[in-house]
């Protein structure tokens, strides 16, 4: 691969889905419609915690226009004592999240669903469903859930011999931290909290499902994985996977939040019961109340270092909100927190805490920003105590090839140190700040990245063009990147390649779009398929020329005879070979399926400048640069898009995003007005320092790029605010009221 000309790899080609998206032609899930279609709506819990004593749907069923009503009783039962894992999910929890079974566990928890001839009638019917509740006390925050007399969400969860809201733990240990701290000259320990933040995709969850009388089921939906939709729908409805065709619609953002299902199995049962296609579209309020944000957290991190800057011990305790059912990303928090550093003694402990909030869903490097926030803030203080530049402290302790990470692996060639060096040498870092209340912060981050199962089919059309089919929804420009790679390998024009995302009936199993895995994994199977196609093309040319296939080379999109035959035959183009395909052995094409391995971790270092309006408590980010090892930027525009998106979300997490609950346990800001994600004018240009240390285990050198750019953000912003104000604020978000309160408390303290 390294001896190729790179005509297309690294080029900013026009994305294949671009024209449709800018002209409004792209078909998202909510655009789907079918003759005879009816509308599904969900009845949601008015209480944050209650036992469901009975559900009476008779009045709803009697309402004219109502075609079907469904409750948890219509779905497959998953007893709580028998785990049914699917990927990182468990169907016991997925089923109870989709429709409450024994109890409602958060305000907004779905209880029943109605299909009717209009959305209005469906909503009216929902209001006619009578639910008899035994209302229970509730716990929203981690401290409430861990209190001695806390209401217990699940009787079947025990921790340390008692019923508990701690649903699980995870521990990573390396060396001996106590011995490490004993060696330290400087020790810093601090506790932090972060709020749950939503993925904030613009497109709300939506689907249309049609079930035929023989149970053959077709699903159009917006998700990060049509195979995930198929599998979960099959589990939850009992319809076999072979009967379900899940068609991926264009997706209007996911960021991890669309790696599970909320609607598809419900619409499937409503369609099966009504005999009609059923459409369901969530409102923004439903999205904010009942779909996963990522966890809120509280954590304590202690780091010890010697005078020369060598970090000798790191200890972290991370409590993460799971929401109402088990499964917070403690692995991301506890596993990634210390990973950028070569530390001999590490102890990292994670707690999975359930409370009466919506169940968390994956969000871009799930858990990792929480762990990094605590560690990177403490490192900032360690550097200050040592009188060391915070980047030089990181560089001195940078993990490198051969470093044993606390979460298990020994790193191969990685590019972490390079991200710090690039940051240190950057114009950004070297440019002095000018304002009184300006400050600069830095932070690093790590994400595991993933490989896993992918399938691809590469077919040569009769007119000599190429259709590539893969099985992953494209949420970050993967189609354009795959087209770049295919055009490069075949030596043909980019425009000759069409990349399709197949439905579950047309392409082999492909794991979902997540874990920064898609380009890594799909490039591998597309490369294998394309290489097989090239072998076929060489064979066809050999057959036409009557020579041995080993005497044919494929170059610049043509088969050319070599050696003794090189002057005997004119080279043959893809078009010519395609035209003769039937005479030389039939259609040309190849598929490949693989469980890919070798997705090595990703590292980034961020530099953030802020300016604080100290009278109003407003923090503005005025300059921001992400330095990241991306392996190989197959399509630089979409690598930058990933980096910039991650930076923007990290800034939002740091500054204003938070779930606010009222005293009745209800989300008080279920919309984009009061759930404040950054708007364009809130952000400066987000600069990208792309570093390319090719992944040796990938044909094009790809490393996942999509998730690690979120990881350092919150800490980089918080450290910059410290630099501006001299005040270490340990609780996110750094919203104006909290920043002003910290400034006022600090000046009162100074006055005393």
């Amino acid at each position: 691969m390294n001896d190729q000309s790179h005509k297309w790899i690294g080029k900013r080609t026009i994305r294949p889905d671009g024209a449709d998206k800018v002209t409004g032609r792209a078909a998202y899930a909510a655009d789907a419609t079918m003759p005879g279609m009816v509308w599904g709506k969900v009845l949601r819990s008015p209480h944050p915690h209650a036992v469901i004593k009975s559900i009476d749907t008779s009045k709803a069923e009697a309402l004219p226009g109502v075609k079907a009503v469904a409750t948890a009783a219509d779905f497959v039962d998953f007893p709580v004592d028998t785990p049914v894992p699917l990927g990182i999910q468990d169907m016991r929890w997925m089923s109870r999240n989709m429709l409450a079974k024994e109890k409602v566990l958060f305000h907004g928890h779905p209880i029943a669903a109605v299909a009717a001839t209009s959305e209005e009638i469906a909503a009216e019917a929902c209001a006619l469903i009578e639910v008899d509740y035994d209302v229970l006390p509730f716990a929203i925050e981690i401290d409430d859930a861990l209190a001695k007399d806390a209401p217990i969400l699940h009787d079947f969860i025990e921790f340390e011999g008692r019923k508990s809201n701690i649903a699980g733990t995870l521990e990573h240990k390396l060396g001996d931290v106590e011995a490490g701290f004993a060696e330290a000259d400087v020790i810093v320990e601090r506790s932090f909290t972060t709020k749950p933040v939503h993925q904030g995709y613009i497109e709300t969850h939506a689907c249309v499902v049609s079930v035929a009388p023989d149970d053959r089921t077709t699903i159009w939906s917006s998700s990060q994985g049509q195979f995930m939709v198929r599998a979960m729908t099959a589990y939850l409805t009992g319809i076999p996977q072979s009967h379900i065709k899940a068609i991926p619609a264009e997706i209007g953002g996911g960021f991890g939040g669309k790696t599970i299902v909320y609607l598809e199995p419900v619409a499937t049962i409503l369609s099966k019961k009504s005999g009609r296609p059923v459409k369901m579209v969530m409102t923004r309020e439903e999205v904010m109340r009942a779909t996963g944000p990522t966890s809120g957290s509280k954590s304590t991190v202690k780091i010890g270092a010697k005078k020369d800057g060598t970090i000798v011990a790191g200890q972290g305790t991370f409590y993460l909100q799971a929401g109402c059912l088990p499964g917070s990303p403690i692995r991301g928090a506890a596993g990634c927190a210390f990973a950028p550093y070569d530390i001999k003694n590490v102890h990292s402990f994670g707690y999975d805490v359930v409370s009466n909030r919506s169940k968390v869903a994956a969000y871009r490097a799930p858990g990792a920003p929480i762990g990094a926030f605590a560690v990177e803030c403490v490192l900032d203080e360690v550097a200050e105590k040592l009188g060391m530049d915070p980047l030089k402290l990181r560089l001195k302790n940078a993990a490198k090839e051969g470093t044993k990470a606390a979460h298990g692996p020994t790193f191969p060639r990685i590019g972490y140190a390079e991200t710090v060096e690039e940051a240190l040498n950057s114009t950004h870092y070297k440019t002095p700040l000018t304002g009184k209340y300006q400050g600069r912060g830095v932070a690093s981050g790590f994400w595991f990245n993933a490989g896993g199962e992918s399938s691809a089919q590469v077919n040569i059309t009769e007119d000599g063009n190429v259709v590539v089919t893969t099985g992953h929804p494209d949420i970050g420009g993967s189609r354009a990147s795959i087209a770049n790679i295919t055009a490069e390998l075949l030596g043909i024009d980019y425009d000759q390649v069409s990349v399709q995302i197949g439905d579950t009936a047309t392409i082999g199993y492909s794991n979902l779009t997540g874990g920064s895995r898609v380009l890594f994994a799909s490039a591998m199977v597309v490369t294998e398929s394309t290489e097989q196609v090239i072998e076929q093309l060489k064979g066809r040319a050999a057959k036409i020329w009557g020579i041995d296939p080993s005497q044919v080379v494929w170059e610049n999109g043509e088969a050319r005879p070599m050696g003794e035959h090189s002057a005997n035959f004119p080279s043959m183009s893809l078009e010519e070979l395609a035209a003769k395909a039937n005479a030389t052995g039939g259609p040309i094409g190849a598929g490949s399926q693989s469980n890919t391995v070798g997705a090595e971790g990703g590292f980034a270092t961020h530099v953030c400048d802020v300016e604080v309006d100290v009278d109003l408590g407003i923090v503005r980010v005025i300059r921001y640069t992400c330095f990241q090892d991306v392996g190989r930027a197959i399509h630089p525009s979409y690598v930058e898009g990933q980096l910039q998106g991650g930076m923007a979300q990290g800034i939002g997490w740091a500054l204003n995003e938070e779930y606010i609950y009222d005293k009745n346990g209800r989300v008080d800001n279920p919309g984009f007005l009061d759930y404040r994600m950054p708007v364009c004018s809130d952000l400066p240009m987000l600069d990208c320092g792309i570093i390319e240390i090719p992944n040796p285990k990938h044909p094009q050198g790809v490393r996942g790029v999509g998730e690690v750019p979120l990881v350092p953000g919150p800490a980089a912003v918080r450290n910059a605010v410290y630099d501006a104000l001299g005040i270490r604020i340990d609780d996110l978000p750094l919203s104006p009221p909290s920043v002003l309160a910290a400034i006022d408390a600090n000046s009162r303290q100074a006055a005393e």
């Binding site: 209005e120 009278d615 004018s681 104006p736 009221p737």
Partner: protein, 289 residues
Amino acid sequence: MSDIRYLAPQTLDDAVAQYAAAAGAARILAGGTDLLVQMRSGLKKPSTIVDVKKIPELTAIEETADGGFRVGAAVAGAVLEEHPTFGKVWPGVLEGLNLIGSTQIQGRASMGGNLCNGSPAGDSVPALVAAGAVATIAGPDGTRELKVEDVPAGPGKTNLKPGEILVSFTFPARPKGSSDAYLRMIPRTEMDIAVVGVGVSLTLENGTCTAARVGLGAVAPTVLLVHGAAEAIIGTKLDDAAIEKAAAACSAACNPIDDKRGTIAYRTKVAGVLFKRTLAIAAERAGRA
């Protein structure tokens, strides 16, 4: 959902008659940027909608005989912005109105709708209060006038009587050396709702403040006219002591709530800070050297 009757009268008399006839089940539609959102969320379920955008009195911008302005209650922000002179005389009123929503919303949103929606955080209201604007109201019993600060009665409520329609705002003529300004505090830079909003209108003669009014939004159940702040600066050359006293009056006038948009402590402090910044802009515009 039941059917909704939509009426679009061409005259004020027709509008008053139709609105009164609907007897409480009707809502007035100006730009609709609040009403339609409230209907979608199920908060309001009117059986009749009376669209007032076809009525000349509600859509006109006139210069009055005494040198002031009369602006129809349904005039959209984008339309008022294009007026050749209004924004020169009342830049603060205009900037308050123009802060409502996005560019698209500006094509619809009006001062009348903003005031009648009754939100204490309405962006156009503090500057209207500071301007001393007077609302003309038409109803079944005839026409009456009400000072803008007397229109809101509490969150989501006004002092308009059943069947009454807000027609227009009258702005007084301005002596030389007068101007105004509006500032709001929002956590973001755009697309947000005021946590505190301050309107200041004043007149300067040879550097001395001879007249001033201060409107304060989002810090109490209704937008406040802060007499104490105005009194603290009238007769002064806007020296620091006077400004501090006026800022303290603004903070003292606050009667806010702790909510998702800000704390009591935050709003109270920021009211003073924002007053000082708004005053500086208004004074600059009024020609302070």
